[in-house]
Symmetry: C2
Subunit: 214 residues, 2 copies
């Protein structure tokens, strides 16, 4: 066949991305193949290679969208929560998000580009921009004289901690953590870490008297 003009290039691109996403969500990456995608959209395998370099290219784009979605939800969650509940909400949102798209989330974590070529720059940017909401929310909690590096460090720590809980319940082989118990642990982690932060900022460099936050 030749040109169909049923879909524009742009529509076709989106069609491919949507089909791939749904295959992954259902069957995981092991259920994915060029032929399978083609079957889903009613085109032939060759078509994929008119729109994307190769499958890894396509996967990267899907991962990027997932990261964008997550970031968006984090930002919204933080905005819609009262100040003193922002960090817990952020954590819960992160956890829920990964629970809602477990297969795609696993892809994001586990997908490696063959020949250990580095990931594109824009991808790394998206990763590290996940950190921003945590920094923003952590900011008003910390003492004013906390150094920027220390702020970032705390943000990373808590981000990584949350990430650990999510990945333990997503990776079904270590799943001693269920969806419900995950929420509890997330809360434990965040609240206790926060308590620790407030304790050390009151005991540390600053000699100011302890400020109770409530």
């Amino acid at each position: 066949m030749g040109r169909r003009s049923i879909h524009t290039q742009e529509e076709l691109r989106e069609l491919i991305i949507a089909a791939t996403t749904s295959i992954i969500d259902e069957a995981g990456i092991d259920g994915l193949s060029a032929r399978e995608i083609a079957k889903h959209i009613g085109y032939s395998p060759g078509t994929l290679y008119n729109m994307f370099e190769n499958l890894d290219d396509l996967l990267l784009i899907i991962e990027a969208r997932l990261l964008d979605d997550l970031r968006q939800q984090l930002i919204e969650a933080a905005q819609n929560a009262p100040a003193h509940e922002r960090l817990p909400r952020l954590a819960a949102t992160y956890f829920e998000f990964t629970q809602n798209h477990p297969k795609r989330w696993s892809l994001l974590i586990e997908h490696r580009i063959p020949g250990n070529h580095p990931v594109p720059d824009w991808y790394e940017d998206k990763i590290s921009s996940l950190l921003q909401p945590f920094e923003d929310v952590l900011d008003p909690i910390l003492d004013a004289d906390t150094s920027p590096e220390t702020r970032r460090q705390h943000a990373r720590t808590i981000w990584a901690g949350i990430h650990g809980l999510t990945s333990l319940s997503t990776a079904n082989k270590l799943a001693t953590i269920t969806n419900h118990s995950g929420q509890v642990l997330i809360d434990d982690l965040v609240m206790t870490y926060l308590a620790g932060l407030q304790r050390s900022t009151s005991h540390g460099v600053s000699t100011a008297p302890q400020k109770e936050k409530r």
Copy 2:
């Protein structure tokens, strides 16, 4: 060919396990195949299937050994540290261990048994026995009236948090975390969480005055 009697069954088994381990450590699971293992040990592919059900079976055994090793190192680390430093040492040991065997560690996390059959019981036991050292070390830190469930919960939380940091630096695609900075973050996580625990145990159910640990 027929029987060689160069290696006993047991030796052959170990040979296979060793070869597989080294292939994974070098090339990751993508570099692994029955033929590749056979080449390494100078036997034919068929031989593998005299000793193991299939490749997944073999992989599970390798994962089990990794878990055993880690558990052993955790226990030793805890024993050789002064009481008030046990938790940080535990965390650092966990982190170092995964850094020392990144590919094999990733295998452990990412390997799924096809047809989503469940993992054998002994495997789950090994996973959850990783929690034990953390519980043991956390125990003397917590208030005496902390319930057993709460203890386990805290142990899980901190375990998962540490796990998150390790997996962020092992999964090279999110690697905003280097080996060095990982150590720093691990310390941050553990120390702050601990501080938080002590704060809440002093402020919570118990009305005992704050106990400074130094």
